[in-house]
């Protein structure tokens, strides 16, 4: 993929994540007290509310793509080389996939009541 396309994806994921993370934070501070919003029953109810669970999944994907691409850019600025660049790119893709898979597992299990 062209680097210019990757940067467009980087910026698009950033803008999407800013909006969704703002909603996620507002959920924590507008539902009574902050500590109250972290109670087990409250958090589980959040997961079981399908639109919220979908939003969490979107945040996870957007931030993982943005975060691991940012890490890739930083690592490529420090050092260059054909094999190094390949290792960094595939390593970041693997890290991103693992994080999305692990986070999705939590969202799916919690929203389906498998606790």
């Amino acid at each position: 993929m062209r680097e210019s396309t990757i940067m467009k994806i980087h910026y698009a994921t950033a803008l999407g994540a800013v909006v969704l993370v703002a909603v996620h934070v507002l959920f924590r501070i507008t539902m009574g007290s902050f500590s109250g919003s972290l109670e087990y029953e409250q958090v589980l109810a959040n997961y079981k509310f399908v639109p919220y669970a979908v939003m969490l999944e979107l945040i996870l994907v957007l931030l993982s793509v943005h975060g691991f691409n940012g890490l890739r850019v930083i690592l490529l600025e420090l050092k260059q080389g054909r094999s190094y660049e390949k290792a960094v790119t595939y390593g970041c893709i693997a890290g991103m996939t693992c994080l999305v898979a692990f986070g999705s597992r939590t969202i799916l299990m919690a929203s389906m009541g498998m606790t």
């Binding site: 950033a14 958090v43 589980l44 691991f68 919690a110």
Partner: protein, 143 residues
């Protein structure tokens, strides 16, 4: 003389004193980005405790909902707000907004892109991040 004798490497690149606030913003952007990625990984792991039942969740909260945990969360708020505000500045700059018009390079070769508006935006990003941290502290410790 060897070709690399004058090379300072990462130390030279990291020196924020030589290139002004832009270099400082460059480093702060990368440090906050790495910090936020580490937080994201930790947060995904932390919240995965919900599927292990109420006691596991409350055990995890007893570790994170402490004074140290709240101070750490305040730092995360600051990193997040700076990264967002400075990121929007960088995005606009890459899009060609606020970087000045192309002109013939004349002595003293002042770069049009490193203008006072961008410098002001960097200071504003730091200021907004500080305000957000203060608000975060009031929410986290004001209960």
């Amino acid at each position: 003389m060897k070709r690399n004798d004058n090379r300072e490497g990462i130390k030279g690149m990291a020196n924020p004193g030589r290139y002004g606030i832009e270099r400082f913003a460059y480093w702060l952007m990368r440090i906050t980005g790495l910090g936020l990625l580490a937080y994201l990984i930790g947060h995904v792991y932390e919240t995965s405790n919900i599927i292990n039942g109420k006691s596991a969740w409350e055990n995890m909260l007893s570790i994170t909902q402490t004074t140290e945990g709240h101070v750490f969360l305040t730092l995360v708020i600051g990193m997040c707000v700076f990264h967002t505000a400075n990121g929007i500045r960088v995005m606009l700059g890459h899009g060609g907004y606020g970087v000045g018009k192309p002109a013939r390079p004349d002595y003293p070769y002042t770069p049009a892109s490193q203008n006072s508006m961008h410098k002001l935006c960097i200071y504003a990003s730091i200021g907004i991040a500080a305000l957000a941290m203060m608000y975060g502290l009031s929410v986290l410790f004001g209960e």
